[in-house]
């Protein structure tokens, strides 16, 4: 399925979308940019930390609500668009439900199990759970101990980038994982963005590395380079300069608009984006030192 079709079909206005679940790597920028191009509105964005992508979607006016532990730009600083939306309501007001990384992972884990909540020892005494629909005080029925309870989160869709997948949706993800498993299993639908589409036998040869049951995956999109400027282990490194550049240019609404025009609205798709990035720069990011995993034999 094309990225454009997948976003059009499975991520309507008003969706609650989990993205960037590996933290700073494997961020599906291509999917976020496609949602911006399709002028999606009233999204709820769900993630652990978001390194720049949520800021861009907020800047483009796609977002009504944030449920996350951290939104900004990890190597460069605060998220300017996030600030403008939260402080001035520009381009539109957003509702913010703050989490910590641990508590959002527990919320999604509870959602993945179809359970109403999980308890947490992180959070008491913090202002995060105060006046927050996702937290409530509870009691352990075993010893009467007070516990903080975290309400289950069940995103409408989780967009998960992987290195390789088969056409049915069985996928291999390697490197750091973050909350990808919990987020995908908690979601009603999973969309997989793959650097490579491979024969099913490749995936099934290593079933321990498969991320989700195939029957949970709604769409598989072949999208090489789809995570740039975030890194993909084995494929390309992080393009630090991109983060610095967006940070500089997004200081003003005008600069942000110009950035979005250049890198999102004015490119038709990820292939055009990579062309604009330039073959030389893209090739440089793909110069890697090999680090092949020791073989494993599932002999039977």
């Amino acid at each position: 399925m094309s990225l454009s079709d997948a976003m059009g079909r499975f991520v309507p206005d008003g969706s609650a979308v989990a993205m960037g679940t590996c933290l700073e790597s494997m961020i599906p920028f291509a999917a976020g940019h496609e949602l911006i191009r399709q002028r999606r509105r009233d999204l709820t964005l769900i993630g652990p930390i978001s390194d720049m992508l949520f800021d861009q979607l907020i800047a483009a006016g796609c977002v009504a609500r944030i449920q996350a532990a951290w939104v900004g730009n990890v190597s460069a600083g605060l998220g300017h668009a996030y600030r403008r939306a939260a402080e001035q309501g520009l381009p539109r007001p957003i509702a913010i439900e703050d989490y910590s990384n641990y508590t959002i992972s527990l919320a999604l884990l509870a959602g993945a199990h179809g359970l109403p909540f999980f308890p947490s020892r992180s959070g008491p005494g913090s202002d995060i759970p105060r006046d927050h629909p996702g937290f409530a005080d509870g009691v352990s029925p075993f010893d009467g101990e007070q516990v903080l309870c975290v309400r289950a989160l069940r995103p409408d869709v989780a967009i998960i980038a992987v290195q390789r997948a088969d056409v049915e949706g069985s996928a291999h993800l390697w490197g750091n994982i973050g909350i990808s498993e919990e987020a995908g299993l908690a979601a009603e639908r999973i969309i997989v963005l793959a650097e490579d589409i491979v024969d099913q036998q490749v995936i099934l040869s290593d079933p321990n590395r498969v991320l989700f049951p195939a029957f949970r995956v709604s769409a598989v999109v072949h999208c090489p380079g789809g995570c740039h400027p975030s890194p993909v282990q084995g494929y390309y490194r992080r393009d630090h300069e991109c983060y610095a550049e967006y940070h500089r240019e997004s200081r003003t609404p005008e600069g942000t608009a110009a950035w979005l025009e250049r890198w999102v609205y004015d490119v038709a798709d990820r292939a055009a984006y990579l062309e604009r990035l330039g073959a030389e720069r893209w090739a440089r990011l793909r110069q890697l030192r090999p680090a092949v995993a020791a073989p494993v034999d599932y002999a039977w």
Binding site: C22, L23, E24, S25, P48, I49, D51, A68, A69, W70, V71, G72, V74, S75, L78, G79, Y82, R83, A85, A86, E87, I96, D98, Y99, S100, N101, Y102, T103, S105, L106, L109, R121, S122, G123, P124, G125, S126, D127, I128, Q146, V147, L148, W174, G175, N176, I177, G178, I179, E181, E182, S230, P231, Q233, R237, R238, H240, Y243, L288, R289, A291
Partner: protein, 248 residues
């Protein structure tokens, strides 16, 4: 600051590294006095060796290479939950004298003057690490009597309130700033200046601190970096991305 942070890591510690400057502090400690320390990163990485290259983020590809483990965020957080993380680092925009950290909102939450990025793993580390190390740029508007919002709980209002709130972790062990290092009084749980960095004075620190400074009777100058430490910092962060003045 990075040196003082590194020195708080003991050999054999399990260290929850966090983002930014602690990335360097962990590497520095590993290469000097704490070769058997393990680093935990909230993206799910566990490392027994420093990353082979400077990291801009914990998820950069070099941080995976040679890692002891790459697992789920929830699994490494569970190590915190079980009380098995000896030391954790957090930063933020504001800290009060009880070590409570704000990295969420300057001004009221419903109409903030500045919306900061948020907790990340900060609240988790502050809640659950055995020894919490707070790292802060030392400026008067950051070291405040009361912070606008407690993202990451320290000793709350002191006097045992942290324990009463049901927080199992040990609470702040040190506040490490660009000007000095604070301990926390075991009784009142207030920050007490333990040392001032070379080139500054207690008076200058008071000027940049929003609460009336408490100074340890045994206050001293922070030990200067050794040549080895300086060499290593330059090797770990050649362009001073995280360790130059104002960085991190």
């Amino acid at each position: 600051m990075v040196l003082a942070a590194a020195r708080e890591i003991r050999d054999g510690d399990v260290v929850f590294v966090g983002m930014r400057l602690p990335l360097i502090a962990f590497s520095l400690a590993k290469l000097t006095h704490a070769p058997r320390a393990f680093g935990i990163f909230e993206n799910g990485i566990v490392r027994g060796t420093p990353s082979p290259e400077l990291l801009y983020t914990m998820s950069d590809t070099p941080n995976v290479a040679g890692a002891h483990m790459c697992t789920r965020l929830s699994t490494v957080m569970a190590q915190l939950g079980r009380g098995l993380v000896d030391v954790g680092f957090i930063g933020g925009a504001e800290v009060d004298r009880f070590g409570n950290v704000n990295s969420s909102y300057i001004g009221p939450r419903d109409r903030p003057k500045v919306k900061l990025p948020g907790s990340g793993g900060g609240c988790d580390i502050a809640s659950l690490a055995r020894r919490l190390l707070v790292i802060m740029s030392h400026e008067r508007h950051r070291l405040r009597t009361v912070v606008d919002y407690i993202t990451s709980p320290g000793y709350l209002a002191g006097g045992g309130q942290r324990q009463a709130a049901g927080l199992p972790g040990g609470g702040p062990k040190a506040l490490i700033t660009t000007l000095g290092v604070f301990d926390f009084d075991p009784d009142t749980q207030e920050a007490v200046l333990r040392s001032y960095h070379p080139g500054t004075t207690i008076e200058a620190i008071q000027e940049q601190t929003g609460w009336p400074l408490r100074v340890s009777p045994s206050v001293e100058e922070t030990p200067s970096p050794t040549t080895e430490e300086l060499t290593l910092i330059r090797r770990l962060d050649p362009q001073g991305f995280w360790t130059r003045a104002g960085a991190g």
